[in-house]
């Protein structure tokens, strides 16, 4: 339970009121996807959702993905396939992938590339991200 300003975006509520800084901000135009979280299991950009809109919903951030010290299979695949470098886009990329695989458990390369279109990475060139998504799906 928390009181929020009506204009408060979900991403700033998570970061500045709850201290969940794993969800990061990479742009101001809903372009980069770095702030992607799961809202009732679906991936959303937390900069495009008002905190009040999440009232009563379940929000999963990167902090909540690993369980009992074990990485989620998508996190593990990103590690094994070297799908991250600086790691700033990574929480959003991982959660977008979790959202994708919930909808489409065995996506093709093209499906993966289209599904992740809203998540920008400047380091990896995406090649290993696509590999990681496939590995996580397998």
């Amino acid at each position: 339970e928390a009181e929020v300003e009506p204009r408060q975006l979900l991403v700033y509520f998570l970061r500045e009121q709850l201290g969940l800084t794993g969800t990061v901000v990479g742009c101001d135009t809903s372009s980069c996807g770095a702030c992607t979280v799961l809202l009732d299991g679906e991936s959303v950009k937390a900069c495009t959702v008002l905190a009040v809109q999440a009232d009563g919903a379940e929000v999963t951030t990167i902090e909540g993905l690993a369980s009992n010290g074990a990485l989620h299979p998508v996190q593990q695949a990103f590690h094994e396939q070297h799908a991250l470098q600086c790691g700033f886009c990574t929480p959003g990329m991982v959660l977008a992938t979790v959202g994708l695989l919930a909808e489409s458990p065995s996506p093709s390369d093209d499906e993966i590339r289209l599904a992740l279109e809203g998540n920008l990475c400047r380091c990896t060139g995406y090649q290993n991200i696509v590999k990681a998504v496939k590995a996580a799906a397998a």
């Binding site: 990061v24 135009t29 980069c32 990103f78 590690h79 600086c86 992740l116 060139g125 696509v130």
Partner: protein
């Protein structure tokens, strides 16, 4: 996370999984904007909406009265806070014009986004709200964005005191160029545009500054590539003893040159923290960053070749007219010069002439963006190579073979020495991988049947100078600092090893790569090696990360520090085992005595060094070594990249079908990390060719003002690349390594553009401006050979 199976002695050369990953994958990373301090206030910078305007009034009084506002300042209010201008480390000629650059402008705004006031408030949102209440009166002045226009008579002057917009003209000439041209049977001349680019590290810039008055002590956390360089420059800018300033680069989310600077907001945050006695945080918004963070490239380029009828190039004559933007940031003037010795590419030319003219414009300053000078040089020579191939009706691969440098070391006409390489081997392998003959056959077949989808094949063979850099050479070319780097290895008594490095990673994986070197050399399991970086109070020596230098310079410092540790351990072991040092063998951390079962390892020696109960007479306790390494030469990677594109000639749409990269980067410590560097670099270079461009209108407004207008490629635009390597280990360092971080960006842009022009050859097209958007390609097809 799964421990690697690799053992000491075999880490180097293995794709050891990254030690950095787990925190980054689980939200335990700490970027600057994640940090909060007690009493912290937020800063918001008020920026000029005009590219060029006289500032006649700045009134912050309404902002000061707004909710939650702690303070607000104009540039004039802070005029006494500065001890020096924001720095430029490389004034490239004795008479380079460097304007005064204050963190907030007072007299004129000189680019859209130039800061004019700053507001501090209790929250991010309140600071931003109040910034809108600052009243600034401007008298708009005419803008000038194009560097050639800026140099023309009557152009608006960015800095009136100079009477010109020319900051410098830098020349390098060798080998009797004019005579070679006068007698050359064949010449070609080409002119190209290097558009402006916006680096777009996904983490925006950010700073957090703290001042403790009782200790007169400053700490700055910054999203920076260069904590050490920041420390000494900021100490100068704000006028405090360097020893009182600590700079920390925590987790940093990419840089690509955009965080290789001393920015206004870094200096501002420190003086504001001093004035308020409260910590000050500023986090850049992305669209704000499009204005306030450096841009890259912005050249007009010209190249002439003098050649013989067989295509042997005798001399190159190049000119670059560079848009510097409004001020000289840290490496603004030097960035084009960083490519100044490689405008001859990997080719054996006798005559070399380059002129670089830097022009002030009313735009965001340009500075080092991935590759910094070498992409520009490589683009110019590689595009011109294809022009010569067309003129002589030679296959572009054959033309390159006829011109490659084949013997090493090789002193270039420009004066520097390439240590090693295998350009021909790289090209052969790249052509084999792409199946060059088959692709050419498919191209011919399509043309024969009048297919509306043309195929194009583009080559780019390159070399570049990185691993910045030998300090003596830097001094000779007027760079204000050195090019060494440093590492400290501290063997702890309980067996683990702490490593302090002077380079500052922001995605490159130094923690893993550097652990591999230490674990192998000292025979320690890799998870017992801890790498510390990015904090000037933990590691005082260092010159940070840029110019593909971290492994080639910092990694060699680390290797040599390990050798010092081993040498001291050897003395201790010989003493303990009562043998002569010469009788000790050493492998993977273990000292042995031939013909006996006596042995001792480095970790045991470290414990003896710590207890100091029984050390050789006069030996200092402790097992620790620092090495400061000044490289004897630059690092010289090279290689051959091939792009295959398909162009819909009815729509102008370009589709990248294949991309092959064969690089010669010396020995490789971690192949997976290296491949990742190449993937990312290639993507940025392809993006320059196909998608990215910072566009200003005639009034100097940035039109591509956010991520909505500037296309940073996503997974949907990119493809999988095919990589391979040839190896010619560098003879100038004991690991035989070279730099790799920028090679992909350097090589890929001309490969793609050569492929596009190759595809459009039947239409007589010789050039398409970058980025080759469908409209431009379509118009080029309609224009055909007419320029």
């Amino acid at each position: 996370m799964a421990a690697t199976e690799t053992a000491p002695g075999s880490y180097i050369g293995s794709s050891v999984p990254r030690k950095e990953d787990e925190k980054l994958l689980t939200g335990q990373s700490r970027f600057v904007d994640d940090l909060t301090l007690p009493g912290m206030v937020w800063a918001s910078v008020v920026r000029s909406p005009y590219a060029h305007a006289r500032i006649t009034k700045v009134d912050v009084s309404k902002a000061r009265e707004a909710d939650g506002v702690v303070a607000a300042f104009s540039g004039a209010d802070l005029a006494e806070d500065w001890a020096a201008t924001l720095p430029c480390v490389w004034l490239v000629t004795e008479d380079t014009k460097q304007p005064m650059h204050r963190p907030l402008a007072t007299d004129k705004a000189r680019y859209q986004g130039d800061g004019v006031a700053v507001v501090l408030a209790e929250s991010r949102a309140l600071a931003k709200d109040a910034a809108e209440l600052v009243e600034v009166e401007y008298e708009p002045l005419p803008a000038v964005i194009d560097p050639e226009e800026a140099l023309a008579d009557g152009a608006p002057l960015v800095h009136e005191e100079f009477g010109t917009n020319e900051s410098f003209t830098w020349k390098l000439e060798a080998g009797g160029v004019d005579e070679i041209f006068a007698n050359a049977p064949v010449t070609v001349k080409e002119r190209f545009r290097q558009q402006r680019l916006i680096p777009n590290a996904i983490e925006p810039r950010g700073v957090l500054a703290q001042y403790l008055p009782a200790q007169d002590e400053y700490t700055l956390w910054s999203a920076t590539q260069i904590p050490h360089i920041l420390r000494f420059w900021l100490a100068i800018v704000i006028g405090v003893p360097e020893a009182r300033l600590r700079v920390v680069a925590p987790d940093v989310g990419g840089g690509f040159g955009s965080k290789l600077n001393v920015y206004a907001e870094e200096a501002l945050a420190l003086v504001l923290a001093r004035r308020l006695g409260r910590p000050v945080k500023w986090t850049e918004e992305r669209s704000e960053g499009y204005l306030a963070t450096i841009h890259g490239r912005d050249h007009w380029q010209e190249m002439e070749f003098a050649a013989d009828e067989d295509g042997k190039i005798k001399a190159v004559r190049a000119k670059a007219t560079v848009g510097l933007g409004a001020y000289l940031q840290l490496v603004t003037a030097g960035t084009p010069i960083l490519g100044g010795w490689v405008y001859g590419g990997p080719y054996d030319v006798e005559g070399y002439s380059l002129e670089v003219v830097g022009a002030f414009t009313t735009a965001t300053p340009t500075d080092a963006y991935r590759g910094a000078g070498r992409p520009e040089a490589t683009y110019l020579i590689e595009r011109t190579m294809d022009a010569l191939a067309r003129k002589l009706d030679l296959d572009p691969a054959e033309l390159r073979r006829r011109n490659f440098i084949t013997e090493f070391p090789k002193t270039l006409a420009s004066g520097l020495e390439i240590d090693s390489g295998d350009f021909a081997g790289a090209l052969d392998r790249a052509l084999e991988l792409v199946d060059y003959d088959a692709v050419r056959a498919e191209q011919a077949e399509r043309r024969a049947k009048g297919d509306t989808k043309e195929l194009g094949i583009g080559l780019s063979t390159y070399t570049e100078m990185c691993g910045l850099a030998p300090s003596r050479i830097l001094g000779a070319i007027l760079y204000a600092a050195g090019g060494w780097d440093a590492a400290t290895i501290r063997c702890l008594p309980t067996g683990s090893v702490q490593v302090f490095i002077g380079t500052s990673p922001h995605g490159q994986g130094h923690v893993t790569t550097f652990s591999q070197i230490v674990a192998d050399r000292l025979g320690v399991p890799i998870d017992q090696v801890e790498v510390v970086h990015g904090d000037t109070s933990a590691m005082q020596l260092g010159l940070d990360t840029y110019g593909s230098r971290s492994l080639a310079v910092g990694g060699i410092a680390l290797y040599n520090a390990a050798e010092k540790v081993i040498a001291k351990a050897k003395t201790i072991v010989a003493h303990k085992l009562e043998v002569a040092e010469d009788d000790l063998g050493y492998e993977n951390g273990s000292f042995t005595v031939a013909g006996t079962d006596k042995s001792m390892n480095v970790q045991e020696a470290a414990l003896h060094a710590f207890t100091a109960h029984d050390l050789p007479d006069g030996m200092e306790p402790g097992l620790e070594a620092t090495f400061v390494y000044d490289p004897p030469n630059f690092s010289w990677p090279g290689g051959a990249h091939v792009a295959v594109v398909e162009i819909d000639t009815e729509t102008g749409e370009v589709e990248l079908r294949r991309y092959v990269a064969v690089d010669e980067i010396g020995n490789v410590i971690n192949p997976t990390i290296v491949d990742g560097q190449i993937h990312g670099g290639v993507t940025q270079g392809i993006a320059q060719a196909l998608w990215e461009e910072a566009v200003y209108d005639d009034d100097g407004n940035l039109v591509t003002a956010s991520m909505l207008e500037y296309l940073v490629p996503s997974a949907a635009e990119t493809i999988d690349y095919e990589l391979d390597r040839v190896v010619a280990p560098s003879p100038t360092n004991p690991l035989g390594v070279k730099g790799v971080g920028e090679t992909g960006t350097i090589a890929s842009t001309p490969a793609v553009m050569n492929a596009i022009v190759d595809a459009l050859a039947p239409f007589g097209v010789r050039d398409v401006d970058m980025p080759a958007k469908p409209e431009r390609v379509w118009r080029a097809i309609q224009r055909g050979g007419a320029s």
